[in-house]
């Protein structure tokens, strides 16, 4: 890690500056290196800090990766001195930490994935520039190594050891002589492990037991629970395979189950399963149900026949569609707060003028969670809307006044 390709005295060496230091001397060092005013870099870091704290992250990374002015080794280089990046485990470790950081940054802290990837690529590029990351060098046998091999071969042939020097002199003077390596011994093929078959047997026994429990009406088992059980057994099989037995093909089985597990978790509970295109148009507050549920199809809740006073009496409406479209139509001059959740799909807001719907708002993605207000305040009516896979469509009669207060996804 510390074996850099340039000398500390080189004029092109990037170092953190002592003279132009405000915090860690990163911008000062960059300014000296590129021959520009350090404030250009300072302003760049400040501006980038407003984009998901990218400027702060890059500054800290630079502080750790760029050596100090009177040093040849960076702070991070000191931590990982002697670390072998060609080691599979270490490389996997670094990659997994990067993947975890990406997932946490994008899905938990809702920082733009593009910024995180850009920062990661920037750091990788910098490490490549410094020579910290490079492909493993092909090692050429040294002359000493060739002499050693030659001596071994000759002593095996019964040639006197005294002749070695002459042979070596000749080989060095002309070109390196090809040395014959002893033929590799073929490793005996390990006997087939029964781990894979054992794991699949356990998986089938577990799944069939679950099915029998459900058929016996002991308890209801959801589709995702079958997928989770299958995935759990495969996972345990692979973990056992880390120490005992071996069955790499279980990875392929796991990869096949993963999307089934994900999408089955978005399906509705079997108890709530229903299908169709129901349309509800209550004409008074008493006719409004507390909740509306649909398994698959298009459900429309048309509240346009209700006045603002009646809707304020309703207070809260829950509606969910597992697979399909959920449409809520609101009358003009009624304010509502919408709490929308979509597993996979989109949330749209549209205006209706003379029976024509025009979408003015659209947000799509995976695990979309949005809280926003529709119409004029006070937005007393609370709409808790949920769609597993599909679309939530808010249709407003008149000009849509929309304010997004929270957005995830």
């Amino acid at each position: 890690m510390t074996d850099y390709n340039y000398s500390p005295d080189s004029s092109t060496t990037l170092r953190r500056s002592d003279d132009q230091r405000i915090f860690a001397g990163v911008c000062g060092g960059l300014g000296e290196h590129f021959g520009v005013n350090a404030w250009w870099f300072r302003w760049a870091f400040i501006i980038l800090a407003f984009f998901g704290f990218a400027g702060i992250a890059i500054y800290i990374a630079s502080w750790l990766l760029i050596p100090d002015e009177d040093s040849t080794e960076s702070i991070a280089g000191g931590w990982f001195d002697g670390l072998d990046m060609s080691d599979t485990g270490t490389l996997f470790g670094v990659v997994l930490i990067g993947v975890a950081a990406l997932i946490i940054a994008t899905s938990v802290f809702h920082i733009s994935g593009a910024i995180v990837i850009a920062v990661a690529l920037g750091i990788i590029g910098f490490l490549l520039y410094r020579g910290d990351i490079r492909p493993p060098a092909k090692t050429q046998p040294t002359v000493d190594e060739m002499i050693e091999v030659k001596e071994v071969e000759e002593s095996a042939d019964g040639t006197p050891a005294g002749t070695t020097a002459a042979v070596v002199t000749t080989s060095v003077a002309t070109k390196p002589q090809r040395t014959h390596r002893p033929p590799k011994e073929k490793k005996p093929r390990p006997p087939k492990s029964m781990l894979g078959r054992l794991t699949m047997s356990v998986m089938l026994i577990v799944l069939s037991s679950m099915a029998l429990i459900e058929l016996a009406d002991i308890t209801r088992i959801e589709p995702y629970e079958y997928a989770a059980a299958a995935m759990g057994v495969v996972a345990v099989g692979l973990l056992v395979g880390a120490w005992v037995g071996r069955a790499y093909w279980l990875i392929f089985i796991g990869v096949l189950i993963a999307p089934v597990l994900f999408f089955s978790s978005l399906l509705p509970s079997i108890a709530d399963w229903s299908a169709g295109d129901p349309r509800y148009m209550p004409t008074s507050a008493d006719e409004v149900a507390e909740s509306y549920d649909l398994g698959a199809g298009q459900m429309t809740i048309d509240l346009t026949q209700l006045s603002a006073d009646e809707l304020s009496k309703v207070g809260e409406i829950d509606a969910s569609v597992s697979l399909g479209q959920l449409i809520v139509r609101l009358p003009s001059n009624v304010g509502a707060t919408v709490n929308a959740e979509v597993g996979v799909g989109e949330v749209t807001g549209g205006e209706i003028f003379e029976s024509v719907l025009v979408d003015v708002y659209q947000y799509s993605g995976v695990n979309v969670e949005q809280v926003f207000t529709v119409g004029p305040p006070p937005n007393d009516l609370l709409l808790n809307l949920e769609v597993g896979a599909g679309e939530i469509s808010i249709q407003y009669i008149g000009e849509l006044e929309l304010g997004v207060s929270e957005s995830k996804g």
């Binding site: 931590w79 990982f80 001195d81 002697g82 670390l83 072998d84 080691d87 599979t88 485990g89 270490t90 996997f92 470790g93 670094v94 990659v95 997994l96 930490i97 990067g98 993947v99 975890a100 950081a101 997932i103 946490i104 899905s107 938990v108 390990p190 006997p191 087939k192 492990s193 029964m194 781990l195 078959r197 054992l198 959801e222 995702y224 629970e225 989770a228 995935m231 759990g232 996972a235 345990v236 099989g237 692979l238 973990l239 056992v240 395979g241 880390a242 120490w243 005992v244 037995g245 071996r246 069955a247 790499y248 279980l250 990875i251 796991g254 993963a258 597990l261 994900f262 978790s265 695990n367």
Partner: protein
């Protein structure tokens, strides 16, 4: 057909741990709602822990090598 003990196999371990974390993450997300989505954290934290463990192992090896030299 056998089940012989062997050297630690990193590939099996990583995929086994990831699949287990994925299962836990989905089951948790479907069944529990505490207003704080722990399910969203399980998978990245599991990946992070595995990554740190592997990197830690590499650092330990490097330190041992340095101590020998």
């Amino acid at each position: 057909m056998n089940m012989e003990q062997h050297r630690f196999d990193i590939l099996s371990f990583i995929f086994g741990a990831l699949f287990l974390a994925l299962t836990a993450s989905v089951v948790w997300s479907v069944n529990f709602d505490f207003g704080f989505d722990i399910g969203a954290w399980i998978l990245p934290v599991a990946i992070l822990v595995i990554g740190v463990a592997l990197l830690g192992s590499g650092i330990r090896t490097a330190l041992q090598r340095n101590a020998k030299n």
